[in-house]
Symmetry: C2
């Protein structure tokens, strides 16, 4: 399956190069198991120890210039039409190949806006300039951000199906947590239950295990990216979990909110119910507006305004991010206009992208209300990939 997707994405990359009118896309790496350009998992699939150039051209040709020790690995993988091995220096075969193709525009992997389009290190950028010194191609380099944004963002039906598989398995574990959690347990106990399910079922976690899953016990839970602690789940408080798996190379990322009933309670107190509904409704309000062409920051506005209008503090993060081979995927996101997000909040959404929607608000004295859904941008709207949480999940005392 991994190989099929590499072939599919390589083909898609050629289409994008034609659409954007870019002659050549050059991924330049060394010791890629140590510092990993995220492009490697998209269109290469095999690590390289020595300096290596992975080139996809607008004309459909793809070429790997690699250390001779690794020729066998690349031949075996069979993804590249041309494999050019070198021994002492990549400079000559690289210049020779580039000169032969004579590209006017060469995209390389750097980006102020997105880590996933920024796999070229500063040292390797300087090495590349040294190699190209004395040629005109040095002046034809520019950022591949747009190419990577399209390639990672626009999911094929194969990719969407894999993401649906990951969601299905993740929600199964959420259901199991509903039956497992009891007042008196610690966050860590719940997290360990979830991790054990992943071990048993051979699922990778979608992000670092220090906070995957993150479990938040009210009334004063940890911050959004903190790991589970020995805080105790208590009657009359809210509990949340943020959790995702990586299955067949694709990630899920989901949050749900529970309320642990107090003795004698049959429903959550009004404050808790209201906090839940404001979050739930803000997600639906965003989903109603999501479609190709809208900007991420406009979507963030909708949820952020609905929450503050209802008297709550705004959430201390973006509304949502793309999702795919990594838990935070793509370039653009449903981000506010904060300096730290660069231009990413202003990029227009595209069909085939998958976003999380994950607003949060504090419910004083009870905990935090937060839901995270996954949606796919369709031709003229969006489609929930997760069946959205419409009701608080009540846990008996």
């Amino acid at each position: 399956m991994e190989r099929e997707i590499l072939i599919e994405k390589t083909k898609q990359a050629v289409e994008i190069l034609n659409e954007k009118n870019v002659d050549m896309w050059l991924t330049f790496v060394r010791e890629s198991s140590v510092i990993n350009d995220p492009v490697m998992e998209m269109v290469v699939g095999t690590n390289s120890t020595w300096q290596a150039a992975f080139i996809i051209n607008k004309d459909g040709e793809n070429t790997a210039i690699i250390g001779s020790m690794e020729e066998g690995n690349f031949k075996k993988a069979g993804l590249f039409q041309n494999i050019i091995p070198y021994l002492k220096s990549i400079k000559e075969p690289l210049i020779q190949y580039v000169t032969k193709k004579n590209p006017k525009k060469i995209a390389i992997n750097y980006s102020k806006n997105a880590v996933l389009a920024d796999g070229l290190t500063y040292g390797m950028y300087q090495v590349l300039l040294d190699h190209l010194n004395g040629t005109d191609y040095k002046n034809n380099l520019f950022s591949s951000e747009e190419i990577i944004s399209a390639l990672r963002g626009r999911k094929s039906p194969t990719e969407i199906n894999l993401m649906k598989d990951a969601i299905k398995e993740t929600l199964k574990i959420f259901d199991e947590v509903t039956h497992f959690m009891k007042p008196g347990m610690t966050e860590i106990e719940v997290a360990n239950f979830v991790k054990q399910k992943c071990v048993d079922r051979n699922f990778d976690l979608a992000w670092e295990e220090t906070h995957c899953p993150a479990v938040f016990a009210g009334p004063n839970p940890n911050g959004p990216h903190e790991g589970p602690s020995d805080k105790v789940l208590t009657k009359g408080t809210i509990v949340n979990m943020d959790f995702g798996i990586k299955l067949n190379g694709y990630c899920s990322d989901i949050q749900r909110t529970w309320y642990i009933l107090n003795d004698g309670e049959t429903k959550a107190p009004a404050d808790v119910q209201k906090g839940f509904e404001v979050i739930r409704d803000s997600i639906q309000m965003v989903a109603d507006k999501l479609k190709p062409g809208v900007k991420g920051c406009e979507m963030d506005d909708i949820a952020r305004n609905h929450i503050t209008k209802n008297g709550y503090d705004e959430y201390p993060h973006g509304l949502g991010h793309q999702l795919g081979k990594t838990a935070h995927d793509g370039v653009g996101g449903l981000f506010p206009r904060w300096e730290r997000y660069g231009d990413a909040p202003h990029l227009p959404l595209e069909e085939g992208q998958v976003y999380t929607i994950e607003p949060r608000l504090p419910v004083k004295g009870f905990g935090v209300s937060t839901i995270e859904e996954e949606v796919k941008i369709t031709k003229d709207g969006c489609e929930f990939l997760t069946p959205p949480q419409k009701e608080l999940i009540l846990v008996k005392p």
Copy 2:
């Protein structure tokens, strides 16, 4: 243990900043679980999602400027004296802090020579320049290569002990392979035996499992970095294995050479024996010359010349590399003067560094002779961390 080593290395970093007269060392990252600056594992230990600055000063102060969502994680880890959280932009707290310290020299992580000193991406370098725009500090930036070279290279007694543990466990598996391997088995069968031992004993592999272990069955084995295949171990041929584990954060990397006796043979043919001895002796000749101050390329010369003088082809790679938290560690190495190695072959060796010595030569009609030992540079020489292979290991038919 991990935390103790982070503290030890942070203290050592301050000493190195004083020795090199560098005021400030700045590690600038984002989404460090996606693109990982190798400095993170040395002196930070906790990943960061938003833009983050990890600063160690010559005066001994260390400071983390991080996204507010992650404040809890960094407080819990307790490694940084100052933790400065931000919400919308790192720019203001970063400039404020740098202005307060007023450094004349700020080392940042880029290097043409070594991946381990090159964790700053080109996009993040541009972001950093944007942040510092309008200050003079923009002009005080330079490469931290020398700092990282010293910090990763000079192993503390604690680190050496951890590396010895990894070696001990690795050699135990080599011994088990000696008893396990039989003519008729495939390379993959041997590799799977080794991998199962690692699973059983909870060892990580020192490098990618596609070629860890690499198993080479003569007479026509795969190239040095190729993974095991369905080639069959055959009587009257040479077998080699290249294998290492990562245990408590430190790697081993060892190669041994076996000969599978033919029916009726009690020792290896003269050609095989000679090929083995030339490799074995070349390693000892290098070890005799290793000491602080010599250059890696001079050491490579010794082995390479001994091998070609004896009529064999030279090996298509460097003589050896440093070893530590990664299998290919540090900056300098026992490398030839090939363009692809940059300045790394010319750096003088230092006390406390750990190198592999791993020459190879082809024995026509039988396979490859290759041994890989690990040595530590001492005050006036070197010490073998692996008990060196002195005799061919003979496998009964």
